[in-house]
């Protein structure tokens, strides 16, 4: 599904973010990216959704070489994946409903289908009673669920999450991780960057460890299931 071939990314002033990384991530895996701050986790994800381009090497996502992808096609690539951030990246002046249905709306999905998709997705993240709320009226955990719902509404095969629990307390973090686990259980590939060793161990299936841009470890953690993962959703 995702293949990195000798990928390097060097930002201006010779700051090496990724150095000669080669890795293959299979469809349906729950992969956790680990490493200290500045290890290259975010850059790894940014390269996959084409927010950055590699300085060297090739990246193939779903059989498509991102190096030959024209800029105009980037939005279409992003529609095939859901992206979740630490800061939620929600549209503050739009309601939960509008945030979640924005992509289907601009894709021209009719109102009835949009409603069905949104209701199902919001129910999945446990936010069906907050449709008319604005992001500022929600807790951090709820805002992150809105971001996850927005990422899921187009039914992507792949969800990228960059420190999705970074702004949340441990209880809310576990709730969000359970949600990712549940999404993964339904067949979605998850690639999640996290600096929290406990969450990594508890929820991850495969661990990639980056250190100063180099891939220094690639470990199988064993499949976790909801029954063994602990508490339910928040």
């Amino acid at each position: 599904m995702i293949e990195f071939f000798n990928v390097s990314k060097i930002y201006p002033v010779n700051r090496v973010a990724l150095a000669d990384v080669t890795v293959r991530i299979e469809r349906g895996q729950f992969v956790v990216l680990a490493g200290s701050s500045g290890a290259g986790k975010s850059t790894f994800l940014r390269l996959i959704y084409r927010a950055a381009v590699p300085t060297a090497g090739q990246i193939v996502v779903n059989g498509r070489n991102l190096g030959s992808l024209p800029s105009k096609k980037v939005p279409y690539l992003r529609r095939t994946m859901g992206v979740v951030f630490q800061d939620f990246s929600l549209i503050e002046r739009k309601t939960v409903w509008d945030n979640v249905t924005f992509l289907p709306k601009i894709l021209g999905v009719d109102a009835k289908t949009r409603r069905r998709l949104a209701e199902r997705t919001l129910e999945r993240v446990g936010l069906q009673r907050h449709l008319d709320s604005y992001p500022a009226q929600l807790s951090g955990g709820e805002q992150q669920r809105v971001a996850i719902a927005r990422a899921l509404i187009s039914k992507p095969d792949l969800v990228l999450a960059d420190e999705p629990t970074g702004n949340l307390d441990p209880h809310l973090s576990r709730g969000i991780m359970h949600l990712f686990s549940e999404i993964h259980r339904q067949g979605t590939t998850i690639l999640l960057a996290s600096h929290d060793p406990e969450l990594r161990r508890e929820f991850g299936e495969r661990l990639l460890v980056l250190d100063e841009g180099r891939l220094v470890a690639d470990e199988e953690l064993g499949r976790r299931t909801l029954s063994t993962a602990g508490a339910g959703l928040e």
């Binding site: 959704y49 927010a51 105009k72 939005p75 279409y76 690539l77 992003r78 529609r79 992206v83 951030f85 990246s89 929600l90 549209i91 503050e92 002046r93 924005f102 992509l103 709306k105 601009i106 894709l107 021209g108 927005r150 990422a151 187009s154």
Partner: protein
């Protein structure tokens, strides 16, 4: 989403942006309106002046003033000579007494001056009505000053030509000033749109993140500029009409009325003014989007 749905979405987003930042938007609309108002005043003045000059030209006369000691036979010969010229329709002889009466009628407030004269101080004159073909007349006029019995020639065409030159210069200056002002309006709108893109930069990033194309990301900002330009031009058109109507009710000299207040814009000119405002807005909306800033690019 089809084009109409997309335009509806752009319009609702643009109006939302304008309402949220109404103070700064009002400034851009006012700048556009002021620019178009000044441009419109110049256009109106240019149109009316050209029309007035054309109308005055049709009434223009050439007056040949004669010495009072010229005999009737000599005047008749001169009149015949003039009537034979191609382009001369009519030659009217005005005697000193008739000239004095005309003066009294045209300038009643100066009539008392004439009381000081026992006899009419005005010379005999020949008023020539031309039909537009001036070639032979001009040739005749060129040699007439040396002719005995002719004291002076007053040709309306001379000052109409000067006025025409002034009107042409005014139009050229108007075009230049109008162009500069429209540029200023477009820059003003661009600044407001740039500010909007900055305010909404996180939203823009979020939209891009979920796969919105540049068409959807930028569309609302282009429409925002367009709306500001059109609002400014509507305001300018309304202000122009009010000014035209208000000045028309004032007691102004006939030449000012003819030259500036002859008639308002034609519907086509009014539409062109609106289109100009819209274009300035569109350009203003597009400028920030072409810049490879942190927000776009």
């Amino acid at each position: 989403m089809n084009v109409f749905q997309a335009l509806g979405y752009f319009a609702s987003e643009a109006i939302g942006n304008l309402v949220r930042g109404w103070r700064i938007s009002a400034l851009a609309v006012a700048t556009t309106a002021l620019s178009l108002f000044i441009g419109g005043v110049l256009l109106l003045a240019g149109n009316n002046m050209a029309r007035a000059i054309e109308s005055w030209r049709s009434d223009a006369q050439i007056v040949v003033y004669l010495d009072n000691d010229l005999t009737d036979d000599e005047i008749a010969i001169l009149t015949e000579e003039l009537l034979e010229l191609p382009g001369v329709d009519r030659v009217i002889q005005i005697g000193p007494d008739q000239a004095r009466e005309r003066f009294r009628e045209r300038f009643p407030e100066l009539g008392e001056i004439l009381l000081e004269f026992e006899r009419s101080p005005f010379p005999i004159s020949l008023e020539i009505e031309a039909n537009g073909d001036r070639g032979a007349i001009d040739e005749w006029l060129a040699g007439v000053s040396d002719r005995p019995g002719v004291s002076a020639v007053d040709d309306d065409a001379e000052w109409l030509e000067s006025l025409d030159a002034v009107a042409s210069a005014a139009s050229a200056v108007g075009l230049l000033v109008g162009g500069i002002l429209m540029g200023a309006a477009a820059i003003s709108i661009a600044s407001v749109v740039r500010l909007s893109t900055f305010v909404y930069r996180k939203e823009i990033a979020a939209m891009r993140l979920i796969g919105a194309t540049e068409f959807f990301v930028r569309g609302p900002f282009v429409v925002e500029g367009l709306v500001q330009g059109l609002a400014g031009s509507c305001l300018a058109l309304g202000a122009l009409w009010l000014a035209f109507w208000g000045l028309g009710r004032l007691d102004v000299p006939w030449f000012v009325r003819d030259a500036l207040l002859g008639s308002f814009m034609t519907p086509r000119q009014a539409l062109a003014l609106l289109a100009l405002g819209g274009t300035a807005g569109l350009v203003g909306g597009l400028i920030p989007l072409r810049e490879r800033s942190g927000v776009f690019g």
